[in-house]
Symmetry: C2
Amino acid sequence: MKDIAIGVDIGGTFTKVGMVDKEGDVLADAIIKTSDYPEVDKFMANLHHSIQKLIDQAGAVNVIGVGIGAPNGNYYKGTIEFAPNLNWKGVIPFVELSRKHLDVTTVLTNDANAAAVGEKIYGGARNMSDFIVITLGTGLGSGLFVNGKLVYGYDGFAGELGHVTVNMEGRICGCGRRGCLETYASATGIRRTAFELMADRTIPSELRKYSFENLDAELIFNAAEKGDQLALEAFHITGKILGTKLADTVVHTSPEAIFLFGGLAKAGNLILEPTKKSMEAHLLEVFKNKVKILPSELTKKNAAILGSSALVWQEITLKQT
Amino acid sequence: MKDIAIGVDIGGTFTKVGMVDKEGDVLADAIIKTSDYPEVDKFMANLHHSIQKLIDQAGAVNVIGVGIGAPNGNYYKGTIEFAPNLNWKGVIPFVELSRKHLDVTTVLTNDANAAAVGEKIYGGARNMSDFIVITLGTGLGSGLFVNGKLVYGYDGFAGELGHVTVNMEGRICGCGRRGCLETYASATGIRRTAFELMADRTIPSELRKYSFENLDAELIFNAAEKGDQLALEAFHITGKILGTKLADTVVHTSPEAIFLFGGLAKAGNLILEPTKKSMEAHLLEVFKNKVKILPSELTKKNAAILGSSALVWQEITLKQT
């Protein structure tokens, strides 16, 4: 019987679920529309119905555990707490509810932490003990590894690098403050930067034909690939701001590498190079030319499932040590 | 036979050495003038001569190990590397040299890390796994604990919070960059702030009679205690800047508490209160009213020896787990 882990990635619209072996191969997967379920109990029943179907189809497998990546997921409590993009309000004891259906090792954390564990188990950080994963999606998430373990901190919410302050008089953030890093370095951040540039500059750009609602990071990427100066500058500014703040992060935990993961990171060197250049320019001497900025190696379409499933293998390893 | 650890705190001018038991009682201590020894070999011979004398005087003790706090100390390599305030240039294999004289467990790290380990073993962090110690001396040093262990990072130089950037166009720092936190939040930083205030304001202040060379943090503290408005404002600004950057630090590792240690921290509420108020004002919602700002409990005159000796007990514990 093959050991497998179930990976569950809960998003506001869709939940992805997959069956993953120790090597990171996704043997089968499914999608559930999260937003169709106003009540968590019915969602949970359907989720486990999907999981059972995956297991039945696979035949002889041994389910080691379930790993769950969720917005505002708390590792210590196994709860999803006040997630703004989910229907389920308040504090949801998600792990407890899940174990009523399938009583195996069940681990829950936020999606960025899951991505970091995925990088450690299946990706570019397999041989690293100290590294950081930055997820550049709608917001900016992060997962920090120190001494071979993910940092949860005292209350389970460590690694919120999207909310370090770039500029106290800067852009309004969804968190209610101003100038947070994710208002600049994220898919929505680069859109805001593109709009600022369109207001400031007079150079022509194909981005000028899009409304704010319609412009997204992919359109900015496509324009930049074609040499659109304004789009290129938007990437340059995004990397520059991200790099300056990563220089501050490096002096905290001295990582071997920082991995960029998620939508905006797919722009490759357009984002990696200005980020690296800016980080190096701002680094304390003792750290210069040591810290790698790398693309995540979890680039397949199932990256989110991989990250969540990796939580299970990581938990098993921790229990054994 | 009583188990004891030898604590050695190496400074540019003086080296303090002491014999400490598991409870944190300093049984005997001595001082060596570091700057009298242009060569490390002669310094080392004298250091061990002093250590031997302490041991001989104490009678029946069992030396468990030697803990060393040193500027630019590298835990992994046991080296002191390019310390600007020491006579010994380049990379000094300090642990290796020391073990030629006394072949016991010997641990070396920088003084701020030693202070953090001291807080964990003898001080206010005895029951904490995730906390931070900030040392406010000539510069600003820091030691971070995560999951019950000190964070050394990939290359052993983690925890350089003195060099996060407050303002890229800010004050020139000894590290060659501009606007580092320690140019504001340290004994020398508050002096610079006092001078800036004297230039900017017209209010009278007893600080106006001192030259830059003669003014120090203690004089500013004494003036503030007597109600000197300019001195009070210097403390307020110092705490405010420190607090804003600690809010960024909290989102990294989510500590239970942040301890302030060293010269400037002795000002008590004059520095603790504005720091706490500013940190809270800038914290991400999920961390508000959770993170304690506390004075270090290593307040005796032998704090530096305690910190260094604590490295030994910590190392023994790590080896046993």
